[in-house]
C-alpha cells in the first residue's frame, strides 16, 4: 500500500506529493492543486503548468538516459483537473545524504567514487546539466547507486557550468575530497 511520505528535510518532496510503497519498491509522485508536500506545505509556490513541465522533464530525461544508474520509470500520466503523476520503479531506500550522515557511505558502496564518475560520464555523453546533483538526489541498494530527480535538468550551457562545479565541490566531495578532480573533467 502506498503511504504518504513526508519529511522535515528541505529539498525532498519540494514540488510534489510523494507516496511510497516499500514492499513493491515504487515511489508515486502527484501534483494537484491540493497536494501536501514536505513540511506540510502545499504546492502553492508552483503553478499546475509549471509542475506539469517539471514532471515531463523528469520523464524525458529518465527515458533518454537509458542507464542502470537512473531510477526506472514505471508509469506516467494525467489525472482529472489538470493534475498529473509519475511512478518510479525500484525506489530502494534512503538517499545518500542520509547514508552519509550515518558514516556508512563507503561501507555500503565500496566503489562509490567509480560509480559517481560513471554517472558523470553519462551526463557528459548526453551533454546535460542535472541541477540538484547532490547526495539528496541519489539512492542505492546492494552496492549500486542510482540518480533521480531530473525535473530541473537541462542541456549544458556556459551559464550553468558554475552551478554544476559548485555541486561537485560543495556536495559530492563529501563522498571523498579526491572526487572533485575526477568529476570536473566531465563538465
Amino acid at each position: 500500500m502506498f503511504e504518504l511520505y513526508r519529511t522535515t528535510l528541505m529539498g525532498i518532496g519540494s514540488a510534489a506529493e510523494v507516496w511510497i510503497d516499500k514492499d513493491a519498491k515504487l515511489c508515486k509522485k502527484y501534483y494537484r492543486p491540493d497536494s501536501i508536500i514536505a513540511n506540510g506545505n502545499t504546492t502553492k509556490y508552483h503553478s499546475m503548468e509549471k509542475l506539469s513541465k517539471f514532471f515531463n522533464n523528469e520523464v524525458q530525461w529518465s527515458t533518454a538516459l537509458k542507464s542502470p544508474h537512473v531510477l526506472q520509470l514505471y508509469e506516467y500520466g494525467e489525472l482529472p483537473e489538470d493534475a498529473g503523476y509519475y511512478i518510479l520503479q525500484e525506489y530502494i531506500g534512503p538517499d545518500l545524504l542520509t547514508v552519509y550522515l550515518t558514516g556508512q557511505l563507503h561501507t555500503l558502496y565500496p566503489d562509490i567514487i567509480e560509480q559517481v564518475e560513471h554517472m558523470f560520464s553519462i551526463l557528459q555523453e548526453h551533454n546535460i546539466y542535472k541541477l540538484n546533483s547532490t547526495l539528496c538526489n541519489m539512492t542505492g541498494a546492494n552496492g549500486k547507486i542510482k540518480m533521480f530527480d531530473f525535473k530541473y535538468t537541462q542541456c549544458r550551457t556556459p551559464k550553468n557550468h558554475a552551478k554544476e562545479k559548485y555541486s561537485i565541490t560543495e556536495w559530492l566531495t563529501k563522498i571523498d575530497p579526491s572526487i572533485a578532480d575526477r568529476l570536473l573533467k566531465y563538465i
Binding site: E49, S52, K53, N56, V59, Q60, T63, A64, Q72, L73, Y74, E75, Y76, G77, E78, L79, P80, G84, Q89
Partner: protein, 207 residues
C-alpha cells in the same frame, strides 16, 4: 473520459522481437510514406497486456504498424461509427534522437482528420487531410485561446509557432517496451525527430 497514461517496461523484448520480425517480413506495405501494415494478425499478443493496464475487457477495433522518418501531422483517429475511443501506441524502434508522441488536450469528436498546417492540403485515405491549423476549427474542444507554451513548442519546432495557437498538452517519450493509452478524440502528432521510427497503433471500442 480516458486520461492519458504511459506505462513503461510492459512489453517484453521477446514480444517486441516477434512484432518487429512480423513487420519486417511482411514484404509489402499499405502506403509509401508511412509504410503501414495491419496489426490484425498480432494484436492478440498485446491486447491482454493492454486490458490489464486499462483494467477492463477490450474489444479490438483495428490498428496498424507504422514506420516513418517524417513526423506525423496533427490528427485524430476517432471514428464515431466504430466507437474506437481508446488509442494505444506501442513504441518499437527508433534509430537516432528519441522521438515523442505529442498528445494535445484539445479534442475533435467528428470523423478523423489530419490538419495540413502550413503545407498544401495533404491527401490521406482515412484521416482526411484538411486545410490549415486546429485553431481555425471552432468545433474543437478545449482550445486555450493563447499561444502554445514554450516547453511544448520545443518538441514541435518543425511547425511555425502560430500554427500551434490554442494547443496545450504533453510529450510522451517513444520508449520501446512502453505503451501509451489515450483518448482517440484527442489531437495528436509526432515531435520533431531525426532517423526512422517504428511503432504499433491499436484502437479499441469503448465497451
Amino acid at each position: 473520459m480516458i486520461h492519458t497514461t504511459q506505462k513503461f517496461n510492459v512489453i517484453s523484448d521477446e514480444i517486441l522481437d516477434t512484432l518487429i520480425t512480423h513487420y519486417d517480413t511482411a514484404g509489402s506495405y499499405d502506403t509509401a510514406s508511412m509504410n503501414k501494415l495491419s496489426s490484425n494478425l498480432v494484436e492478440h499478443l498485446v491486447t491482454p497486456i493492454i486490458a490489464a493496464i486499462a483494467d477492463r475487457e477490450l474489444t479490438y477495433a483495428g490498428g496498424n504498424f507504422y514506420k516513418h522518418a517524417v513526423p506525423y501531422l496533427p490528427h485524430t483517429d476517432y471514428q464515431p461509427r466504430d466507437d474506437n475511443t481508446l488509442n494505444v501506441v506501442i513504441p518499437m524502434q527508433y534509430t537516432k534522437s528519441l522521438p515523442n508522441l505529442i498528445v494535445f488536450d484539445q479534442m475533435w469528436e467528428q470523423s478523423p482528420i489530419t490538419w495540413s498546417m502550413h503545407h498544401k492540403v495533404q491527401s490521406f485515405t482515412v484521416n482526411i487531410g484538411v486545410k490549415g491549423c486546429p485553431y481555425e476549427y471552432s468545433s474543437i474542444k478545449n482550445l486555450t485561446g493563447k499561444e502554445i507554451d514554450h516547453t511544448l513548442f520545443q518538441y514541435l519546432t518543425h511547425f511555425p509557432k502560430q500554427c500551434l495557437f490554442g494547443l496545450s498538452g504533453s510529450a510522451y517519450p517513444f520508449a520501446p517496451g512502453s505503451v501509451i493509452l489515450f483518448d482517440n478524440k484527442k489531437i495528436h502528432c509526432t515531435s520533431s525527430f531525426t532517423g526512422v521510427k517504428l511503432g504499433l497503433s491499436l484502437r479499441y471500442r469503448n465497451r
